[in-house]
Amino acid sequence: MGMLGVKIGKIRLKNPVMAASGAFGYAKEFEELVNLAEIGAIITKTITLNPKQGNPMPRICETQAGMLNAIGLQNEGVDDFIKEKMPYLSKIGAPIIVSISGNNIDEFFILARRIDKIKNIRGIELNISCPNLKSKRLVAQDAKATYEVVKAVRKVTNKALITKLSPNVTDIVEIAEAAENAGSDAVSLVNTFLGMAIDIDARKPKLGNITGGLSGPCIKPIALRMVYEVSKNINIPVIGAGGIMNSDDAIEFMLAGAMAIQVGTANFVEPGICGKIVKGIEAYLRKHKIEKIEDIVGGLNDKR
């Protein structure tokens, strides 16, 4: 491992910069623009057991320093993923982590069992925190439900297991602890904040789904605070996400306690951003004469 190498569960990453699920498609979309092998890990767009149509248009809307999206997990289902997407993903040279979502524990279980059989997939991220689905309450809004889903999936896979948490909760630490206790190798946070926007002339919501997930620079301070709180209270690695636009943002998350970070919305603004963040982190380490990245994880001096 070079100076930027980190470990998440069983996976050794050459650097801590991951492309976040839903913001990087199935990587092929970026192939002409990005050296994919440079990215620490790629988390594919969430797949479900059966194909999913997604939400009505409009699905995206820009807000102050951020964006709302309500895509609704549109995907072609796990069979298509394995047949059509995996051959390409297998050869790009970056570790592949597959994001999965299910309507119930059984679906998570079946999906994880299928994914576990595929050699070139290094890890699974449990998307229990998509805010754009019909269900009243997300798995990630309930510690017990989180525990049960993670526990069920843990039984069928030895691959690195990451649980993606929702910020739309009263106490995110409680949910992170449930994931840890159920055997998750890491938690990633945060998914998007539930929000909305209104067209005042038409008196209509700006999203077809009425509400959507807020992402981008506007959520960064809240995401950072949550990463800080969670990493102080659990012993598995925390993967930080939420409005990271550059290497300074990434370093903030790592100082707050994140072992790795995920870049989402920024990929839409600057397709080559992941590679740029890797270089920026490296420059920071050299500038401060830090030998390895792990030395900055949780390195915040918060003593008074």
């Binding site: 839903g22 498609g25 699905r59 995206i60 549109q74 839409f268």
Partner: protein
Amino acid sequence: MKDIKAKIYSNNKVGPAYYKMHLDASYIARIVKPGQFVEIRCSDSSEPLLRRPFSIHKVKRGIEILYEVVGKGTEVLSKKKDGEFVDVLGPLGNGFILPGTSNLEPRAIIIAGGIGAAPLVYLAEELKKNKIKTIVLIGAKTRSLILCEKDFKKAAPEVYVSTDDGTYGCKGFVSKLFHKILKTTESKFETIVYVCGPHGMLRCIADICLERNFECQVSLEEKMACGIGACLGCVVKTKSGSKLACKDGPVFNASELIW
């Protein structure tokens, strides 16, 4: 497709809220087809955050875009000075398909509604290069909003204009003008209609084409985030399932669309 830093040669106001920006983007200019588009980052800050999509208006020593100031992104873009640089990602999407070989001689009818003229000038120029007989119909709300009449006249022998309020050309919607043109022109041609404009107008033109069995290619406008098919933010319903405006379009065959 590449993400390039392009120098702004010029950025001038050409109408009440219309601007034309000329960019040094030789890579894009070399390979771009009519109807394709670019995503421009209007600001390096997070306001506005996302890039904005613009169709290619002309290809000449780089590329030109023609745009209307409709919100924050285009507002910021309109204030850019000559010599500044912007990030330009492109060329993106699938453009118009030029008439192929058929038994009948092809005839193109270009119909531009408002700012919808933007991608159609480059198309008209390419049709001229390919020696395709072309008629252009331009529609706008009022005289001051008519775009590109001169450019179209350079590329096509027949250019007709309509305004909703009758201040210039034929009075009424451009669809009315379309009906009129069809009545007075011969139909010994294989007609292909290329259209870009407001949604209601596209639908109306598409219906007329369907009735007459004309091929009709429409260029759709959607809000986009990534522009490369990753975010799935710009879905379009078609008879063969969900497609993406950014990757499968923005040009679609009208008979394929579910309006």
